[in-house]
């Protein structure tokens, strides 16, 4: 049994809060570079170029890429041979968020209660998804989520007869409704299958996959590529101000489902698609 102290967990989370809000992963930067070359709208190119300047300023001057530094979402994959010592893992993750958002000058955007709406002052609590996995490691994926794009996300409880066309229409509907509100170019996370909550979780997980990494399954991969082409033909463009770059990627994850259902979750993320991983 391997022991991992909660202090290591807090430290890793704190680092990732600060890192993800100041630096995008290489795949997101590459997607921006490519889009700037391929975009047909002059205003669109101007916006993409300003987004590149923004990334540079964020990194050099240590200013968050976006002022909405998100609600902290954590995927914690815990090896079943790990023994967490020194406290409760959930407290440790929230302590990491508290330190990261306070010491990193990140915005505190979380209210303690959805009705009363009092700001918690330290961006806690995080939304944490635990998975028990084989092995003796803990893998933490940190993905702060802005709400301009989160608000435009949807779950569609399709029926088996709706089929592949139904899935495609659902994704295109969500993206078109999102339009300029979701700060395009977007990354579109899609979860197909499972249950009501499972498809939403798959869609969220899909956003943590690299923008240039296509699904392993041939059929799903083709669907990702086709949807991206269709989204880019919608005309929405950078900032929603017209153009040929509306999505950097469509990432689809699938799971088994019930004979009577075809759940589809569409989690929309903006061009500030932040994610980082630490393995302890």
């Amino acid at each position: 049994m391997k022991e991992i102290n909660v202090a290591q967990i807090s430290e890793a989370i704190k680092d990732m809060c600060i890192e993800t809000n100041h630096f995008l992963s290489a795949d997101m930067r590459a997607a921006l570079d490519r889009a700037e070359k391929e975009e047909e709208s002059p205003l669109g190119r101007q916006i993409l170029s300003k987004l590149k300047d923004n990334l540079q300023i964020a990194g050099e001057d240590h200013i968050p890429i976006c002022q909405d530094t998100g609600m902290a979402v954590v995927f914690a994959e815990i090896g079943q041979e790990v023994h967490v010592t020194g406290g409760w893992i959930e407290d440790a993750i929230n302590e990491g968020v508290r330190q990261g958002y306070t010491e990193g000058y990140l915005r505190k955007s979380v209210v303690s209660d959805p009705i009363v709406r009092k700001n918690t002052g330290d961006n806690t609590p995080a939304v944490i998804h635990y998975f028990m996995v084989p092995g003796d490691k803990i893998k933490l994926t940190f993905a702060p989520k802005g709400f301009g794009s989160e608000n435009m996300s949807r779950v569609f409880m399709l029926k088996p007869a709706d089929g592949v066309e139904g899935i495609k229409n659902a994704v295109l509907t969500a993206v078109k409704d999102a339009g300029p509100n979701a700060c395009p170019p977007m990354v579109v996370g899609v979860g197909i299958g499972g249950t009501f909550e499972k498809c939403a979780l798959l869609a969220k997980k899909a956003l943590t996959r690299a923008a240039d990494e296509r699904a392993a399954d041939h059929f799903i991969r083709e669907m990702e590529e086709e949807l991206q082409r269709k989204i880019n033909a919608s005309g929405i463009g950078p900032g929603g101000l017209g153009g040929t770059t509306t999505a950097f990627a469509v990432n689809i994850e699938t799971y088994a489902t019930h004979i009577a259902g075809l759940p589809v979750g569409v989690n929309i993320c903006c061009h500030v698609n932040r994610h980082a991983v630490r393995i302890l």
Binding site: L55, A58, C66, Q67, G179, A233, C270, H271
Partner: protein, 184 residues
């Protein structure tokens, strides 16, 4: 077209703006988002004065990240404007002339824009680090307890924004999306 414009805003200057123009704003603008709009609405309902005069002024829909020591402000990009739609026509009728945010507006807001000769502009969403460089001063003037949602007074220099809905009500989101839509 690129246009330099002074804030507070001159109604005649605003009339010349067309959707799609890139504007660079210099002068004083105010910052308010969801919770501040709600409070302003409550103040108006009780016949109380607003924290700032609407007449000729502009509101930037924004909630900044905290400033590091020695800096004016943190990251400072626009938030989604539609969440303010419910409160906006009333403010426009009180003389609000410019709104800066991102995303679509309701038909009611568009009508109030045309009725009052106002303009809705978009700042680049997700470019908060870059946009913070155009802000030279920031002061909380009301509702300090709302934290990032407090009302601020900003001094800006060449703050970049794009005209989305001009005084005639033409909407760039609709126009430009049509222009680049393709059949696949």
């Amino acid at each position: 077209m690129d246009v330099n414009i002074k804030a507070p805003f001159d109604a005649e200057e605003l009339k010349k703006l067309k959707c799609g123009d890139m504007v660079y704003i210099s002068g004083t603008i105010y910052v308010a988002r969801d919770a501040a709009h709600k409070r302003m609405q409550e103040a108006l309902d009780k016949n109380e004065a607003l924290p700032m005069d609407m007449n000729g002024n502009g509101i930037y829909y924004m909630g900044p990240s905290p400033a590091r020591e020695g800096r004016v402000i943190g990251s400072a990009g626009p938030t989604t404007a539609s969440r303010m739609d419910k409160y906006t026509p009333r403010l426009l009728d009180l003389g609000l002339k410019v709104m800066i945010g991102k995303g679509k507006r309701s038909p009611e807001v568009k009508e109030a824009i045309v009725r009052n000769g106002a303009v809705y502009m978009a700042a680049i969403g997700g470019a908060g680090a870059l946009l913070s460089k155009s802000i030279t001063a920031s002061e909380v003037i009301a509702y300090e307890d709302l934290g990032t949602e407090a009302i601020r007074k900003l001094e800006v220099k060449d703050f970049p924004a794009i005209v989305v809905i001009d005084t005639t009500g033409e909407d760039l989101y609709i126009k430009a999306t049509e222009e680049y839509r393709k059949e696949v």
